[in-house]
C-alpha cells in the first residue's frame, strides 16, 4: 500500500503539504463558523469520494446516494437515541446495513444502463425518504434528536468544541482518500475504468463486470454512509428532509463532477469549492429572496460547462474532458 502511494512523488508531496496545512489550520482559525465550514467540507469530501467510486470510476451514475447518507445517519441516530450505543460502533453497523442495501438494490439496478440507472436510484432514494418519514420508531417525520448530555463526549461523539469533530472527520477523509489512491492504481481501479470505458471489451478480456460493478457500488455506499454517520453526530438532530431530498443526491454528483470525476483528487477539490460557494452565497446574498441559490446555480453552470473535466483537469491536461460517461 505504501509503495503505491509513495511511488507517485508529485502526489506524495502534495498530499503531505495539504495534510500539514489541514492539521495546523484550526490553530489559526478562531472563528467557529469557519471551522463549521471546514467540517462541512470534510463531510462533502467523503460524500464526493464515495460517489466517485461508482459514478466516477465504474461510470454508473447514481442519483440516489442520499439513501445511503440517510441510512448511515439514522443508524447512528437510532443507536444513540434508543440504545445509547456509541456512534463509534454504530457507524460500522451503518456501513454494513448500507452495504446490504447496496447488494439488494444493485442486483436488479446495476443491470440498467445510463439514465435508467440514474432514474432508478433516484426512485430508490425517494422510497427511502418516504419510508423513513413514516417509520415511527425512527421518529418518522419528527426526526430524532439524540443530543445526550449524560454520557462522556468521547463516547457519544458529541463535543461542544469544533476541533475534535474536525480532526476526527479529517482522519476519516485521509483514510478514505488514501484508500481511493490505492484503488486508483490497483487492479480494481483499472477494471472499473475498463468497465466504464467499454463493458463489452472489459468482458472479452475476462473481467467479471457484474461483480466489479457491485463491488464499486458497495464501497461507495459504505463511504457515503460513513459520511452520514459523522454528519448526524455533528448536527445531533436528523430528519429525512435534511438527509434524503433529491437535491442532496444531485449535490453529491456535483461535488465529484466539479472537482473532476474519476480522479483521486477531484472530489476533494470539488467539495472545497462547492461548500465554500454555497455557504458564501448564502451568507452574502440571502437577504434577497432566492438570490443566493440563483448565484449558486449560475456558478455551477459556468464551472460545469467550461470545465467538463472538472477543476483538476486544468492541472493535468491529459485527463481534460476525457471523463465521458
Amino acid at each position: 500500500m505504501w509503495k503505491v502511494i509513495t511511488r507517485d512523488k508529485k502526489f506524495c508531496t502534495g498530499f503531505c503539504l495539504a495534510l500539514i496545512v489541514a492539521m495546523i489550520l484550526p490553530v489559526f482559525i478562531k472563528k467557529p463558523f469557519v471551522m463549521h465550514i471546514l467540517i462541512l467540507v470534510c463531510i462533502w469530501m467523503l460524500l464526493g469520494m464515495g460517489w466517485n467510486i461508482i459514478g466516477g470510476y465504474a461510470g454508473q451514475i447514481s442519483n440516489g446516494h442520499a439513501l445511503f447518507y440517510g441510512i448511515g445517519a439514522y443508524t447512528c441516530g437510532i443507536g444513540m437515541y434508543l440504545f445509547k450505543i456509541s456512534p463509534w460502533i454504530m457507524m460500522w453497523a451503518g456501513m454494513v446495513i448500507s452495504a446490504l442495501t447496496a447488494i439488494i438494490l444493485g442486483g436488479p439496478l446495476l443491470r440498467l444502463k445510463g439514465h435508467y440507472f440514474a432514474v432508478a436510484t433516484m426512485a430508490a432514494a425517494e422510497c427511502g425518504r418516504i419510508i423513513f418519514l413514516n417509520l415511527d420508531f425512527v421518529g418518522g417525520a419528527t426526526g430524532i434528536d439524540f443530543l445526550n448530555k449524560d454520557l462522556p463526549a468521547w463516547y457519544t461523539m458529541q463535543f461542544t468544541e469544533k476541533e475534535p469533530y474536525y480532526y476526527i472527520f479529517l482522519c476519516f477523509v485521509v483514510i478514505v482518500f488514501l484508500l481511493t489512491k490505492v484503488m486508483d492504481g490497483s487492479k480494481l481501479g483499472y477494471y472499473l475504468r475498463a468497465i466504464k470505458s467499454n463493458e463489452d471489451s472489459a468482458q472479452s478480456v475476462g473481467i467479471n463486470t457484474t461483480k466489479y460493478k457491485m463491488l464499486a457500488y458497495i464501497f461507495s455506499a459504505v463511504i457515503v454512509s460513513l459520511a452520514g454517520s459523522l454528519y448526524a453526530n455533528y448536527i445531533q438532530y436528523i430528519d429525512p428532509y435534511i438527509l434524503m431530498p433529491l437535491n442532496i443526491s444531485m449535490m453529491i454528483c456535483l461535488v465529484a463532477v466539479m472537482g473532476g470525476i474519476g480522479t483521486v483528487v477531484g472530489p476533494v477539490v470539488g467539495a472545497f469549492v462547492m461548500t465554500v460557494i454555497s455557504e458564501w452565497t448564502r451568507s452574502t446574498f440571502a437577504s434577497i429572496n432566492g438570490f443566493d441559490l440563483f448565484i449558486y446555480g449560475v456558478l455551477v453552470i459556468v464551472i460545469v460547462t467550461y470545465m467538463p473535466g472538472g477543476i483538476v483537469s486544468i492541472f493535468n491536461k491529459k485527463k481534460a474532458g476525457c471523463e465521458k460517461v
Partner: protein, 442 residues
C-alpha cells in the same frame, strides 16, 4: 474530435474561473475569519465584543427562499417595524417606544442580522454564523419545531437566547437552558379546539360527533396528529379518518376522496399554505365540504389564504394566539402602522406578529437586564416586568417557567368571515358567532 475543441474552448475561460473561485474563497475567509489576526479579540469573550459594539445585535432566521419565502418577507417587515419603534422616536404606547434605543444601555440601538432558514441543517449553519461571527446575543425567527431543534444545538453551545414559536411540546421538554417561547404550544391549541367543539355542541347543540384528521408528513403535522388523537379520546369524539399525506405531493385527490367517503362533521388539518390551497380547490372539484374545516395555524394563518383562495376561504377556522379584533387599542395602532409603512396594505397576521413580538420581547429583556450578558438577559426574561395596560398580545403578559414557556399566553379560535379573521372563541374574546355548519359550494 470534440474533446480537442472543448479544451481549446475552455482554455480562455479557465483563468477567469480560477479568478472567481479564489475571489470567492478569499471573500469567505475575509468575511468570517477576517479579524482573527487581531490578538486582542482572541481574548475577548462574545459578551464583551457585543458591549463594545455600538448596537445590540439580534439574529433573525427567516425562510428567504422556497415556498415560505413570502411569509418570511412579512415577518421581516414586522420585525423592522418593532426595531424602528425601539430605535426611533415613536408614538406607539408600548415600552421602549419613546426615546431612541435602549435606555438602560445608554441608548444603544437594536441591530438585526438575518439568516436564511432553508432546512433544519441550514438553521444550524446560520445560527452558528449569526452567533459566532455576527456576535448576535440571541436568535429569533420563523422557526418550525424541527428547525428550532437544530438551532438550539448552537444556541445552547454558544450561550445565546433562543426565542422560537415552534409549537411542538417536545421543545420545552428537552431542558434547553436558553430557550423561550412566548405563545402557547400545540397541546393548548388542540385542547381548545376540542373545547370549542364541545361548546358548540352545548350552546347551539351542533351535534358534532365525528372528526377526521389530515396532517402533512412533517414534524409539524406529525406532532399535532398525535395530540389530536389523544384528545379525541379524552373528549369522546370518534375519529372516522386519519390521513397523513406527503408534503411534496403533486395532487391530493386520493386524500380528498377518502375524506369525502368518511364524511366527518369536523375536519382538523395541519398543512402549509400550498396544500391548503390544493385541498380547498380539490374539495371544490369533487363538490364536497365538511361541516367545519379547522386548521392548526400553518397554512391557515397566512395572508395568502385570502389572495389565493378569495371567497373560497370563507368559513375556514384556525386556531391562533392573537387576532386583530382583540379589544386592545394597541393592536389596531400597530396594524395601522404596519399596513401604512411596512407591508403595503397587508394586514398583520397572528403568526407574523408572533415572530416579530419575540424580537421585541428579547429587546425588552436586554433593556431590563441592562447588559448583553446572556445569563443576565436570561434571568431578566424570567422576571420580565411588563405594564399590563400596554399589552398588545392576548393573555396577561409574561411569566416564563423553568422550561422557558410563557404561561400567560392564551389560544383562541378565529373563523374567516367576510374576508378577515374573526375571533369566535373563547367567549371572553369572541366578537362574532361561529358559523356551523359552513355552507357547501353553491
Amino acid at each position: 474530435m470534440m474533446f480537442k475543441k472543448m479544451e481549446k474552448h475552455s482554455a480562455e475561460w479557465i483563468p477567469l474561473l480560477i479568478g472567481i473561485l479564489l475571489f470567492v474563497t478569499v471573500l469567505q475567509v475575509a468575511k468570517a475569519g477576517g479579524r482573527v489576526t487581531e490578538p486582542s479579540e482572541e481574548r475577548l469573550s462574545k459578551e464583551q465584543q457585543a458591549t463594545e459594539a455600538e448596537e445590540v445585535i439580534i439574529g433573525v432566521l427567516l425562510p428567504m427562499s422556497g415556498t415560505q419565502a413570502k411569509a418570511g418577507a412579512e415577518v421581516l417587515a414586522a420585525v423592522e417595524m418593532f426595531v424602528d419603534i425601539i430605535n426611533e422616536e415613536s408614538k406607539i404606547g408600548i415600552p421602549l417606544a419613546e426615546g431612541r434605543g435602549l435606555p438602560n444601555l445608554n441608548g444603544k440601538k437594536i441591530k438585526i442580522v438575518y439568516g436564511d432558514l432553508k432546512s433544519a441543517d441550514t438553521a444550524l449553519s446560520e445560527a452558528e454564523r449569526l452567533i459566532t461571527s455576527e456576535a448576535a446575543i440571541g436568535i429569533c425567527g420563523m422557526f418550525s419545531s424541527a428547525t428550532t431543534k437544530t438551532a438550539a444545538v448552537s444556541t445552547e453551545k454558544y450561550k445565546a437566547i433562543l426565542i422560537s414559536e415552534g409549537t411542538s411540546p417536545s421543545l420545552t421538554a428537552k431542558g434547553y437552558e436558553y430557550f423561550f417561547r412566548i405563545f402557547p404550544d400545540d397541546t393548548m391549541y388542540v385542547r381548545d379546539t376540542y373545547q370549542f367543539l364541545e361548546n358548540l355542541n352545548e350552546m347551539e347543540d351542533a351535534g358534532i360527533r365525528t372528526v377526521a384528521f389530515v396532517s402533512e408528513d412533517t414534524e409539524f403535522g406529525k406532532n399535532i396528529e398525535v395530540i389530536e388523537r389523544e384528545y379525541a379520546e379524552e373528549f369522546g369524539f370518534d375519529v372516522v379518518e386519519n390521513i397523513t399525506y406527503s408534503s411534496n405531493a403533486t395532487n391530493l385527490i386520493s386524500e380528498c376522496l377518502k375524506i369525502k367517503k368518511a364524511d366527518p362533521d369536523v375536519l382538523m388539518m395541519s398543512s402549509y399554505i400550498s396544500d391548503v390551497i390544493l385541498y380547498m380547490n380539490t374539495f371544490k372539484q369533487i363538490d364536497y365540504m365538511p361541516g367545519m374545516i379547522i386548521g392548526q395555524r400553518g397554512g391557515f394563518m397566512a395572508s395568502e389564504l385570502f389572495t389565493a383562495l378569495g371567497a373560497d376561504a370563507e368559513g375556514l377556522y384556525s386556531t391562533s394566539a392573537w387576532a386583530l379584533d382583540l379589544n386592545l387599542p394597541l393592536v389596531q395602532e400597530l396594524n395601522e402602522l404596519y399596513k401604512a409603512e411596512y407591508s403595503g396594505g397587508v394586514d398583520l397576521i397572528a403568526d407574523v406578529l408572533k415572530c416579530a413580538a419575540d424580537v421585541y420581547v428579547l429587546s425588552l429583556a436586554v433593556n431590563q437586564a441592562g447588559s448583553t450578558d446572556v445569563d443576565a438577559i436570561k434571568s431578566a426574561m424570567h422576571n420580565l416586568k411588563y405594564p399590563s395596560d400596554q399589552l398588545f398580545i392576548s393573555g396577561k403578559g409574561f411569566t416564563f417557567d423553568e422550561a422557558g414557556q410563557n404561561n400567560e399566553g392564551v389560544s383562541l379560535i378565529s373563523q374567516i368571515q367576510d374576508g378577515k379573521y374573526q375571533t369566535v372563541y373563547p367567549k371572553e374574546l369572541k366578537n362574532i358567532d361561529a358559523i356551523y355548519p359552513v355552507p357547501g359550494w353553491e
